[in-house]
Symmetry: C2
Subunit: 384 residues, 2 copies
C-alpha cells in the first residue's frame, strides 16, 4: 500500500506545487516575485472572503497568532479567550506571555463554546480589548460558531481574533460578513503547502487599535511595518519566497475549483467520514464537528495508539491520535486540502480492517457503505 | 546564457536539495523526522563549531535576531550595538522595539567596528547586558572582528550576540573559541537552502541570563520552551519540516567537504573576486572584506542600477546592488554556498563586458586574468 497522509496538518501537497518547490532559486526583490506575491495575496483575500489586506509572515501558525495578539493587545490589557481545546489554550498562553490578563471561557474537550457564554463574558468584562477564538479546534474536531461570536463582538469596542489555521479554505468562513477583525491561518492545512508561511487578515477596526497600541513589543511580527511594505507588495524581511511561488500554484487550484465548491466538497467528505465511522460503531468526539477533521472515540477496551500504529504499518494510512489527556482515546482523520473522497474511503476501509483485526465486532464494509451512501446522495443533490 | 544567482542571499540551492523539497509531505511527529532533526542539529553544531545546543526556528534570520535579543535582554536594560551597516542597524531597531536602551557604536559604511571602540563602550557602560555584532555586514561586504569582540566581552558579565546570517559556513568562524554567546543564522545563505529556517546557538552564560530574564515578552521565540523540546528532538510548534529534511541534504555536502576546506575555498574565491575587480579598475568598498560577499564601488560617472540591469538582461547574471543611500553606488557579488570559482569568473567576465559596453576603459580579460592567477597560486599552495 502506498503512503497516505491523512492528518489534520501537515497535509498532502499537490504534485505541481511540489515541482514548483524544486525549481532553481531566484532573487526575491524583483518585479517577477512582486507579481507572484501580489497575485497570491489577492487570491488569499478570495479564500478569506475579505476586502481587508492579508499580511504574509514567515513562521508557523502560532507566529501568526502571536502577531495578532501582540499587535492589538497592550500589556496589562484584558482579553477573553474562548477555549475548547489545545489551540484555544494556546491563545491563552500567548496572551500570558505578553502580560495580558486572560478571562478564560472554557468548555470540556469535545464541546464548542456557546455564544451565550461569550455574551455573558462580554457583559461582565466591557473593558476586554479582544476576544480570541478558534474556528476549527483541531485537537478535538470541534467547529466553533464564529458567525455568532462575530455578531456579539462587533457590537462592542473589542476585536475578534480568530485562529482559522486548520479551517480556512476547508469550511465555510466569511471573514468580513462574520466581522472577524484579525484572522490567522497557516500554509500547511487547506492551502496545500508545506509549513513555513502564515497569514493574517486585518480589519479597519483592528488597524485602529493596532495604531493606538503603546506597547507593540514585537519587531519581527510588527504588522504596521508589514502594512507599509504591502504597496510593493514587499515584505520587511526576507520572506520564504519559494513557498510564496508554490502558494501561487496551490491557490490557482482553489480559484479554478471555486471556494464555495471546495466548502461543499469538504462538507460532503466530512459527512461521509462521520457516517462511516458511526456505522462501524464509533462515536463522534465533537459535539459540533468541523468539516476539516473528523474525530472519533476509540472503542472501549481498545488501545488507540496501537490502532494508529497498525493503520500506518499495515496499510500506509497516517492518521493522528489524541494529544496529552486524549492520547490513545481518539483518532483524528484530516480531510482538508489535497485529500479527496477516495482517500476518505481508504481511511475508513483501513480502520474497518484494523478494528476487525483487534477483535472489535463490525461487519466489513459497513463503514464504507454508509460513507458511499452519503456521497451518492450528495452527488444526486448537486446534480439535481 | 542561463540564469546565475550571485546575490548575497538567497543563494543557489544544490539540485539534490531541491529534489528533496519536491518529495511528498510526511508527518513530522515521528521517529523518522526526529532522526533527521537530530542529525541536522548535530551537523549544525559542526558548522557553528560549538558544543552549545542549536535551536531551530521557523522564520527568517531577523526572527532569530529577535529571539536572541528578546530572550536575553530585559525591558529597560542596556545593550551596545556595533553598527557598520544596515544589519547592525537592524539590531538597534529590534532592541528599541523591545524597550531596550541602545548604546550605538557606529562606523561609516564600508568600515568595520574597531575592537578599541568596543573596549571603550564596555568601560563606559559596565551595566550593558549584551553586545550586538554582525559577522559579515552584507550591506557593505565588511567582516567584523568577532574573535576580538569575543575576547573583550568574555571578560565582562555581558553577552555577545552575533548576527552570523551571511557569514556562518562561508568564512572562518568559531562560536565557542571566540566566546560568542548567542549566534544567529539563516537558511538561505551558506547553508544552501531556501529562506524559511533560522537558528541560534546559545552558550551556558547566555542560558543563565535568559533564565533570569523577568520579561521574556515572546511566546513564539521563547528559547526556554524550545530548549525543553530539544530532548526529542522536537519543536514547540509545527516546524518548516520539509526544509529540515532539505537541510540534512545540504549539511551532508558540508560534512563531506569539511568546514575548514569550505572556508579555504570561499576565501580563495573571495580573493580572486577582489583581484579581478581591482584589475578592472574597480575599488573595493569594504575596508576589511568578508569572504561571503565582495562589494565594489561603481566607477564614477556610471549608473550602477543600469550596470546590474544589463548584467541580468544580457548575461543572466543576477548580482545585488546597494540599498538606501548606497543604491546605484556599489555592486555586491555573493559567493557563499553553492557558488563555485567558475561562477565567480562568469560574474567577472559579465562585469567586464558590461563595463566595456558602458564606455568604461579596461582591457578585456584583465579581471579574469587577475582572478585566474589567484586560483592558480591558491591551488599550487594547497597542493604544495
Amino acid at each position: 500500500m502506498r503512503p497516505r497522509l491523512l492528518t489534520p496538518g501537515p497535509t498532502p501537497v499537490p504534485e505541481e506545487t511540489l515541482l514548483e518547490l524544486a525549481k532553481p532559486i531566484v532573487y526575491h526583490r524583483t518585479p517577477h516575485f512582486r507579481q507572484a506575491l501580489a497575485q497570491a495575496l489577492a487570491d488569499l483575500q478570495y479564500v478569506y472572503q475579505t476586502k481587508n489586506p492579508v499580511i504574509p509572515l514567515t513562521c508557523s501558525g502560532t507566529g501568526a497568532l502571536e502577531a495578532a495578539l501582540a499587535n492589538s493587545c497592550p500589556a496589562k490589557s484584558k482579553v477573553i479567550c474562548l477555549i475548547s481545546g489545545r489551540f484555544g489554550e494556546r491563545w491563552r498562553s500567548i496572551a500570558k506571555a505578553f502580560g495580558v490578563e486572560v478571562i478564560s471561557v472554557s468548555v470540556p474537550y469535545g464541546q464548542d463554546v456557546q455564544p451565550e457564554q461569550l455574551a455573558r463574558a462580554l457583559a461582565d468584562h466591557p473593558d476586554a480589548v479582544a476576544v480570541c477564538a478558534t474556528l476549527c479546534e483541531t485537537s478535538t474536531g470541534v467547529a466553533n460558531d464564529i458567525e455568532a461570536f462575530g455578531g456579539l463582538v462587533a457590537a462592542t469596542p473589542a476585536l475578534l481574533l480568530v485562529d482559522a489555521i486548520s479551517g480556512l479554505g476547508a469550511m465555510k468562513y466569511l471573514t468580513d460578513s462574520w466581522h472577524v477583525d484579525i484572522c490567522a491561518t497557516g500554509s500547511q492545512k487547506a492551502l496545500m503547502l508545506p509549513p513555513g508561511l502564515a497569514f493574517v487578515a486585518v480589519s479597519d477596526k483592528a488597524w485602529k487599535t493596532i495604531e493606538r497600541n503603546p506597547s507593540p513589543r514585537t519587531f519581527y511580527f510588527d504588522l504596521l511595518k508589514a502594512r507599509e511594505k504591502l504597496g510593493g507588495p514587499d515584505t520587511p524581511f526576507t520572506p520564504a519566497h519559494t513557498l510564496i511561488y508554490a502558494l501561487s500554484v496551490s491557490l490557482k487550484k482553489i480559484r479554478v475549483e471555486g471556494i464555495e465548491n471546495i466548502w461543499a466538497r469538504q462538507a460532503l467528505n466530512a459527512a461521509a467520514a462521520r457516517a462511516g465511522f458511526q456505522a462501524m460503531g464509533l462515536e463522534l468526539f465533537a459535539a459540533r464537528p468541523a468539516d476539516a477533521v473528523t474525530v472519533v472515540k476509540v472503542p472501549g477496551g481498545l488501545d488507540g495508539v496501537e490502532l494508529l500504529n497498525r493503520l500506518e504499518k499495515n496499510y500506509g494510512l497516517k492518521l493522528a491520535g489524541g494529544q496529552d489527556s486524549l492520547k490513545g482515546k481518539i483518532i483524528r482523520l484530516g480531510h482538508m486540502g489535497y485529500i479527496d473522497r477516495f482517500d476518505v474511503l481508504a481511511a475508513l476501509a483501513g480502520v474497518e480492517l484494523v478494528l476487525l483485526d483487534m477483535g472489535h465486532t463490525l461487519k466489513a464494509g459497513s463503514g464504507l457503505t454508509a460513507a458511499q451512501q452519503v456521497f451518492a446522495q450528495g452527488d444526486k443533490a448537486r446534480g439535481g
